[in-house]
């Protein structure tokens, strides 16, 4: 019984067991999960070694310059290597003014940055002693999403995840919502940096508005993209009871939330590259729509950043948010159609604690439905890969290889197609092609790791405990080689689900 609970704790709440883990935690699986949800922990070293937010943020004006070399940013290039040390050797080629060469350079920069970020994400998930906490970080960075599917946003998802999901995973929901909304990655991804109040100073005197790029030109008016997605995807949900007027008014409230479009203003670019997300955030009063706005029936007055913060604080407290977050968490950890009792219990914990996330996680761990031994969730490709590497102790792949692998398996790294993130249902992830790619991966991983894991049946019992069926064990034992046995284990129903 306790071994079964240990297996559920490691597989359903974590990234799968490493050999020996179940024995280590079987005396108190629940306690093992609860001790992982402390308020603050140090940033894991692989993540801490990634470029700071300021450097990520500086990468996309650079991208625009390269893609559209005539757009008139042209004076920073000589100083750019300070932020992009690894790009120094390639810098010259992109600066010769040919768009084609610029695009090739962007492609190389994209691969370099995204592989480094992905390798760090994998290393952390594989090595972590707190896999439940790490899963929660991944959960939240799939709730507040900045996707590299928007080509010029490729530099941002890693620092966004660190500054929003990782930083606030043990805090209150409101803190994460505010951090997301003020983050330069989100303000860029959902276009708010271009949004200008129709009666703002800039709207009255458009000649003062800086040219963003040759293509965008001078921003001229309201852009409601971020406001809509905060309501629909981040807080109360599409059925949360808002109207088009709420979207438009909320968009007006957060006009001016962005970052300084004239980054060159700061002389020392190396210092700019070290800036945190909070440092990069900039409230531009000249673009802000003056006067009170009504959002969800409440009037918000004042003309500063505080007006938007008030809306976010009020949004975070609406009962729809507790319900929305509770359902999404329960769906992620328990079942595609989460049990109503578990959802109600999580929502209650959210409301009673004013959105204190560790209290909600505790309710999840304490929900009896979360410990049902039937495996109702299909692992997503990234989870599946991490769990195979944890069980097999490898293979250790370079970031660029991981990028290609995830692309092949249908979950390109940091790149869900839209701001709603990756789907969280088995039907989406268990088509024929998904299975085929897992079989192909299992073939490759088993070949590499068979020397390190010569007894696949023993490994299956070690990491899945009582969750592995007699039938699966028998098939693994009948395999003609350790390689084949390992491959069968990796694509067994019990290992692909949790």
């Amino acid at each position: 019984m306790s071994l079964e609970r240990a297996a559920i704790a490691a597989n359903r709440f974590g990234f799968g067991a490493t050999p020996g883990l179940l024995q280590k935690i079987k005396s108190d699986p629940r306690g093992w999960l609860l001790e992982q949800i402390a308020r603050d922990v140090p940033v894991p070293p692989p993540i801490a070694s990634l470029p700071p937010t300021g450097a990520d943020h500086l990468a996309f004006p650079l991208v625009r310059r390269l893609a559209l070399p005539r757009e008139g940013y042209g004076t920073d290039e000589q100083r750019q290597p300070a932020m992009e040390p690894r790009m120094q050797g390639q810098q010259g080629a992109g600066m010769q003014g040919e768009a084609g060469q610029g695009l090739a350079l962007i492609a190389r920069m994209r691969t370099a940055r995204m592989s480094a970020a992905l390798a760090a994400r994998f290393e952390t998930a594989i090595q972590t002693a707190s896999p439940f906490r790490e899963r929660l970080v991944h959960f939240w960075s799939n709730h507040f999403v900045v996707s590299a599917a928007k080509a010029t946003a490729f530099a941002m998802p890693a620092s966004f995840e660190r500054d929003v999901a990782r930083k606030h995973v043990g805090h209150r929901f409101e803190a994460m919502l505010v951090a997301s909304t003020k983050h330069p990655a989100m303000l860029f991804y959902l276009d708010n940096y271009l949004s200008i109040g129709p009666n703002s100073q800039w709207a009255r005197d458009p000649s003062r508005v800086p040219v963003v790029s040759q293509g965008v030109g001078r921003p001229q008016g309201l852009n409601e993209n971020l406001a809509r997605e905060i309501l629909e995807l981040h807080t109360i949900g599409v059925n949360g009871g808002y109207t088009q007027a709420d979207v438009t008014n909320f968009a007006k409230v957060i006009t001016g939330w962005g970052y300084d479009l004239r980054q060159r203003r700061a002389g020392d670019l190396a210092a700019v590259a070290r800036r945190s997300a909070d440092d990069v955030f900039y409230f531009n009063a000249a673009a802000h729509e003056p006067g009170p706005q009504v959002v969800l029936g409440k009037t918000y007055a004042g003309d500063g950043v505080e007006k938007g913060l008030s809306v976010l604080r009020d949004l975070a407290r609406l009962p729809q948010v507790a319900e929305f977050v509770a359902r999404k968490l329960a769906r992620h950890f328990i079942a595609d159609e989460p049990p109503a009792a578990a959802v109600a219990s999580l929502a209650r914990a959210f409301r009673n604690s004013d959105g204190d996330l560790p209290s909600v996680y505790r309710a999840l761990v304490e929900a009896p439905e979360a410990w049902d031994p039937s495996l109702r969730k299909t692992k997503r490709p990234e989870e599946f890969l991490v769990s195979t590497m944890r069980a097999l102790g490898g293979p250790k792949l370079e970031g660029a290889h991981l990028l290609r692998l995830l692309q092949q398996m249908g979950q390109p790294a940091f790149s869900p197609s839209g701001p709603d993130g990756w789907p969280d249902n088995g039907a989406f992830w268990s088509g024929a092609d998904a299975l085929w790619k897992r079989i192909e991966w299992a073939t490759l991983a088993a070949e590499r790791q068979a020397p390190a894991r010569p007894d696949p049946a023993a490994l299956a019992v070690d990491v899945l405990g009582p969750l592995v069926s007699e039938k699966t064990l028998a098939e693994i034992r009948r395999a003609e080689s350790p390689e084949q046995g390992l491959a069968l284990f990796l694509v067994s129903p019990e290992f692909m689900r949790r």
Partner: protein, 393 residues
């Protein structure tokens, strides 16, 4: 999809589907359509119909469209003329040639029944075929295939790495996407067949994957034209599927929509190249083929503050193929004056996408009209199918 899900869907949609799915023949499909092939391409992110197919001759077009108004035919950077009123983006010259040779048909000012502006809800509704997002957890295209003549075990293939809602459901379909990983050996596959013996979803997925990988002989690339060529090899296989689904994302042009190298421009070029490559790959079978391009909604008529457009309502859909009675634009044009726009911002819908879908399914695939109304598009009486979209054979 699990069996439980499937039962629930069947209960919701009606019993006709269940009878057909369990092996009894559906209502007789015309033998004239039994060899026809269909490709549906979902352009995700809301393609701007007024950009790709500008109504250049509308007297209000330039004023209402503001800085995004594409110049008319004959001007620098201008559209290519279709019918004297609508043009097509100059990045799509091969599509325009197909229009001239009467193999392409455009429907403008068309929308699904959805009237809010969320991509995700709109896409789900468009795919599930009901009038509500999440109104069913299967797709209309899958349900339409139940009971139609199939040449092999799968009647449809989704050329995607995961199964989209539009293709989920009771009919036998598979999915496939290109791979650069090592191929598993036959011995392992046999043993997996045994391992999955009692796990029906995995057993079905394995059989489908084996069949799909047998059909595509050469290693395919990942660009949209390559995927369309792979679709052609499925459709040309003697025992392969007759219906293919593809998707292309990146149409959410909130900013900088007229960029020279923007996502929209790259997509339009990929469509133009892809359709031309597909047409060539289909060979003689092109005459029995149709490709339908749809998107979840259109975009605002006017430019937003960022040289882009925001989420709107009506947009454009287009149909190509040797079987298509093309060279025409179907549009009950609502006009572009502010008072003619929906809520003063969007192109007003005057046609229902379900009317287009029903016409394609009825006249090209031979889906019986009563099944269209009961199982495929429930509560869609108001959307009467278009007539004469296809050539008489």
């Amino acid at each position: 999809m699990s069996l439980v899900d499937r039962r629930k869907v069947l209960a919701g949609i009606g019993t006709a589907t269940f009878i057909a799915a369990s092996g009894a023949p559906g209502a007789m499909a015309s033998t004239a359509t039994a060899g026809n092939k269909l490709v549906v391409v979902f352009l995700r992110g809301a393609m701007d119909g007024l950009h790709v197919f500008p109504a250049y001759a509308d007297p209000d077009f330039v004023r209402e469209r503001q800085g995004l108004a594409m110049p008319g035919p004959g001007q620098a950077g201008g559209s290519l003329a279709l019918d004297g009123f609508f043009g097509i983006d100059p990045l799509m010259p091969q599509l325009r040639e197909m229009y001239v040779s009467r193999e392409m048909l455009l429907v403008h000012a068309i929308a699904s029944p959805y009237r809010s502006r969320s991509h995700f809800d709109a896409q789900h509704l468009l795919e599930n075929g009901t009038t509500a997002p999440y109104g069913a957890d299967t797709g209309w295209l899958n349900r339409a295939l139940v009971g139609l003549p199939s040449r092999g075990r799968d009647i449809g293939v989704s050329v995607t790495s995961s199964m989209p809602v539009m293709m989920q459901g009771p009919a036998m379909v598979t999915n496939w996407s290109p791979s650069a990983l090592p191929q598993p050996n036959a011995e392992l596959l046999d043993r997996l067949g045994s391992l999955y013996e009692t796990d029906i979803p995995l057993r079905e997925a394995l059989e489908n994957a084996k069949a799909a990988n047998a059909a595509v002989l050469e290693r395919a690339g990942t660009g949209f034209p390559s995927l369309l060529r792979a679709a052609a090899s499925f459709l040309n296989s003697a025992t392969g599927p007759r219906v293919a689904f593809l998707e292309l994302g990146g149409f959410d042009s909130h900013a900088n929509q007229n960029a020279q190298l923007g996502a929209l421009q790259r997509n339009l070029k990929a469509i133009d190249e892809g359709v031309a490559a597909f047409r060539k790959a289909m060979g003689a079978e092109w005459s029995r083929t149709a490709i339908l391009f749809v998107t979840e909604f259109g975009r605002t008529v006017a430019m937003n503050g960022s040289n882009g457009t925001d989420h709107g309502t009506a947009g454009a859909a287009f149909l190509l193929g040797g079987a298509v009675n093309g060279g025409r634009v179907i549009a009950d044009w609502p006009g572009l004056k502010p008072a003619q726009q929906l809520e003063g911002r969007d192109l007003k819908p005057t046609a229902d996408l379900r009317a287009l879908f029903k016409a394609v399914l009825r006249d090209h695939l031979g889906v019986p009209p009563e099944r269209l109304e009961q199982d495929v598009f429930p509560s869609s009486n108001i959307a009467r199918p278009f007539d004469s979209l296809f050539r008489r054979t």
